[in-house]
């Protein structure tokens, strides 16, 4: 699909994050996996080895680990952000390191949609000396046109 067919947005930060202080936009991560399924092996290893380190390094993210009830649900990492977005990433058949990388990537994202960003820049003060308009450098009506001085 072309750019016009798919949704797009402008580069933005939630609540001007970073201007005042930086607030991590990831609120909580839920790791839902089955204790016996084969594709949840990476998730189980993550919980055993790397989850506590991750939780210690990110004290502002609440990490929940819980079983996925119901027969045959794929293991999933659900991320909830401050602006209300919920993103689910399938972690079936991934190793523990990959899950750590994925969790870190989610922790560094804001909750804004992952769609085409129209411009890679944004500014609130686009003009310092004043926006040009067709009358900017034209003389005003009040400018007096005097006789040209003769060269001395």
């Amino acid at each position: 699909m072309t750019g016009r067919g798919s949704p797009s947005r402008f580069l933005a930060a939630v609540l001007h994050n970073g201007v005042g202080r930086y607030v991590r936009q990831l609120q909580r991560l839920q790791l839902l996996f089955s204790p016996t399924a084969a594709d949840a092996r990476g998730a189980r290893q993550f919980v055993e080895e790397a989850a506590q380190d991750f939780a210690r390094q990110h004290p502002d993210v609440v990490l929940y680990v819980s079983p996925h009830s119901g027969p045959g649900q794929a293991p999933v990492l659900r991320a909830e952000y401050l602006n209300g977005t919920v993103r689910e990433e399938l972690v079936a058949s991934r190793t523990s390191e990959e899950i750590v990388q994925l969790a870190t990537k989610l922790a560094n994202q804001s909750g804004l949609d992952i769609i085409r960003i129209r411009k890679p820049f944004h500014t609130d003060n686009p003009s310092i000396q004043g926006q040009w308009h067709p009358l900017t450098n034209k003389p005003s009506i009040l400018t007096v046109q005097g006789p040209r001085l003769q060269p001395q």
Binding site: V23, T36, G72, A74, N125, S140
Partner: protein, 331 residues
């Protein structure tokens, strides 16, 4: 923060055809205990419709919620050291206490059990509001010394207004942690809760850190906003005359500097204001009156130092202790 689920982990059933259906069940804000994926397509469509039409629920009523852990993460996220009991008090709203007591009375508990041992957040909210207003007023007096008291009051009122404070609180997900009777949380409750959080920070960490907190969350909301969007001035020319008499400058003379399309439907006039034949400001407009008013507004912006190309706010240096204490003592 890491938490283990209290439920015993189930012995998983076989995988079978479920792998094909698991990506098929479109995950939106679903519960983690999803119903078992049905094999009939119409049944799956029906369950999905039920899930989408279910009324919105508080986050605390959905699975995977630990209040204490969330409160701790909240204080880490804002990079502040809160006294946790004060912070928990800050999230308790009076409507919640009333509704809980009514519910307990309905369940038929005796009077001692009905009364909740919780304090509500009105005291903290008032403290937070007073401190924020005083601190913001002081910031603006320091940054824009020419701005009159009414302008500073308008800016402070805008920044502590219900709309803005509830918007900021919504994007800091205070509505998840706030205990209140209605869902979704009404904006005045969000405003009260956020101001109570500021009050709690004031009591735990002192006025300096709270001042930096207020600066970091409220002042960026002025980015991209014009002074006269926030401060409604009905007669800018009259205000300009007052300001100029205060500075002993003679009254401005308006002159047309540029004009385009005078005889058309969309004329553009540029009116310049001259004091003692020196240009003060120039402003455009569709009619001569509108252009003169706009020129007066441009002149006021220049006089008050609130132009669009002014130096951006300085977030680097921590505010001096004296300034913040003056804010407290002037309450």
């Amino acid at each position: 923060l890491l938490l283990r689920a209290a439920r015993p982990l189930l012995a998983g059933a076989g995988r079978g055809t479920a792998l094909g259906t698991a990506p098929g069940t479109a995950p939106s804000t679903a519960f983690s205990t999803a119903p078992p994926p049905e094999k009939k397509r119409w049944h799956r469509a029906y369950l999905e419709l039920q899930r989408l039409q279910a009324p919105p629920q508080r986050r605390s009523e959905k699975p995977n919620w630990d209040y204490h852990a969330e409160i701790q993460a909240f204080s880490h996220r804002l990079q502040e050291n809160f006294a946790l009991d004060l912070l928990k008090t800050a999230f308790v709203n009076p409507c919640y206490i009333e509704s809980e007591e009514a519910r307990r009375r309905q369940l038929g508990l005796d009077k001692d059990a009905v009364a909740l041992q919780l304090q509500d957040n009105t005291g903290l909210a008032e403290q937070g509001l007073r401190f924020s207003r005083a601190y913001l007023a002081q910031c603006f007096e320091g940054a824009y010394p020419e701005l009159p008291a009414k302008g500073i009051e308008a800016l402070v009122n805008f920044l502590t207004s219900q709309e803005l404070v509830s918007y900021v609180a919504q994007n800091l997900s205070i509505q998840d942690l706030a205990l209140c009777r209605d869902f979704p949380t009404p904006p005045d409750v969000l405003q009260r809760t956020f101001l109570a959080v500021i009050g709690a920070l004031l009591e735990s960490s002192g006025p300096e850190r709270t001042g930096i907190f207020v600066r970091d969350f409220f002042i960026p909301q002025l980015i991209g906003k014009d002074l006269f969007e926030i401060w409604e001035v009905v007669n800018p020319m009259g205000l300009l005359l007052e300001e100029l008499t205060k500075r002993n400058i003679s009254a401005p003379e308006p002159r047309i500097t540029r004009q385009l399309g005078v005889s058309t439907v969309l004329p553009v006039y540029f009116v310049g204001l001259y004091c003692d034949k020196k240009i003060l400001a120039e402003g455009p407009g569709e009619t001569l009156l509108a252009a003169e008013e706009e020129a007066a507004r441009v002149a006021l912006r220049k006089l008050y130092g609130y132009t669009e190309n002014r130096r951006p706010w300085d977030y680097s240096k921590p505010k001096q202790g004296l300034a913040a204490e003056k804010a407290i003592s002037s309450n």
